[in-house]
């Protein structure tokens, strides 16, 4: 399953709930304001890093750039992807689930 989260962890509990309910080996893609969660320096980063032991996590590069967030500030191992890769991820996984 590809989980898509679009809200900042400071605004909404969507990412928190997503991580609670995502299965092992699933993927999480952070888009729109949720890319904030991809930064290494935030308070919630520890929870995401923990989850990355069993989930692959990605952030949409264009959304990071839009918000002035450089890709070298991301959590180690969290990959920045573009829309083409977003589409590819949706194909690779058997379904998508959006956490709004």
């Amino acid at each position: 399953m590809l989980h898509i989260v679009n809200k900042s962890p400071f605004e909404r509990n969507a990412l928190q709930t997503c991580l609670r309910l995502a299965g092992d080996g699933h993927a999480v893609l952070l888009i729109e304001d949720a890319v904030i969660a991809a930064l290494d320096s935030t308070e919630p980063a520890a929870t995401l890093k923990d989850a990355m032991q069993r989930l692959s996590v990605y952030a949409l590069g264009p959304d990071l750039a839009a918000r002035g967030l450089s890709e070298d500030r991301l959590i180690d191992g969290l990959e920045a992807v573009d829309y083409d890769r977003f589409v590819a991820l949706a194909c690779e996984h058997d379904a998508t689930q959006s956490w709004l």
């Binding site: 679009n6 729109e32 829309y83 977003f86 949706a90 194909c91 379904a95 998508t96 959006s98 709004l100």
Partner: protein, 130 residues
């Protein structure tokens, strides 16, 4: 791959419509099919003919109309959500005694069954919302 795309929010207020558009474009560029783009909740506002956005920014509605024309996309506005929010095609306007219709080119109004059909017929259903 056959994609169904759901847009739950209106233009400009949320990034949903933009994200959905960029996704649709990328999917089409990669040679995939977009079976339907279904607009629900405030997403029906993406279908207004009356938008006059500032010249120096993207025209969200027109962008969808153009993409639809270029790729023969099926852009569907949910009738119940559209009626609630004042998006009417000519038939709906006439049937409901309204003095105007306001649907942008490339969009059509139809029932929620179209969303379920998209869920069933598509290989992947991707939702953009709030």
């Amino acid at each position: 791959m056959k994609f169904g795309i759901v847009v739950n929010e209106g233009p400009y207020q949320h990034q949903s419509s933009d994200s959905a558009y960029q996704f649709a474009k990328a999917a089409l560029a990669a040679g995939h099919e977009v079976f339907r783009v279904f607009f629900y909740h405030d997403g029906v506002n993406n279908g207004t003919r009356l938008t006059v956005p500032p010249q120096d920014d993207r025209n969200v509605v027109e962008r969808w109309s153009e993409l639809a024309q270029e790729h023969e996309l099926d852009l569907v506005l949910c009738v119940a959500a559209a009626q609630r929010r004042g998006l009417l095609d000519a038939d709906e306007a006439k049937r409901n005694g309204k003095d105007a219709d306001n649907i942008a080119p490339g969009f059509r109004i139809s029932g929620l069954g179209q969303l379920i059909e998209a869920a069933i017929q598509s290989d992947r259903l991707v939702t953009f919302g709030d």
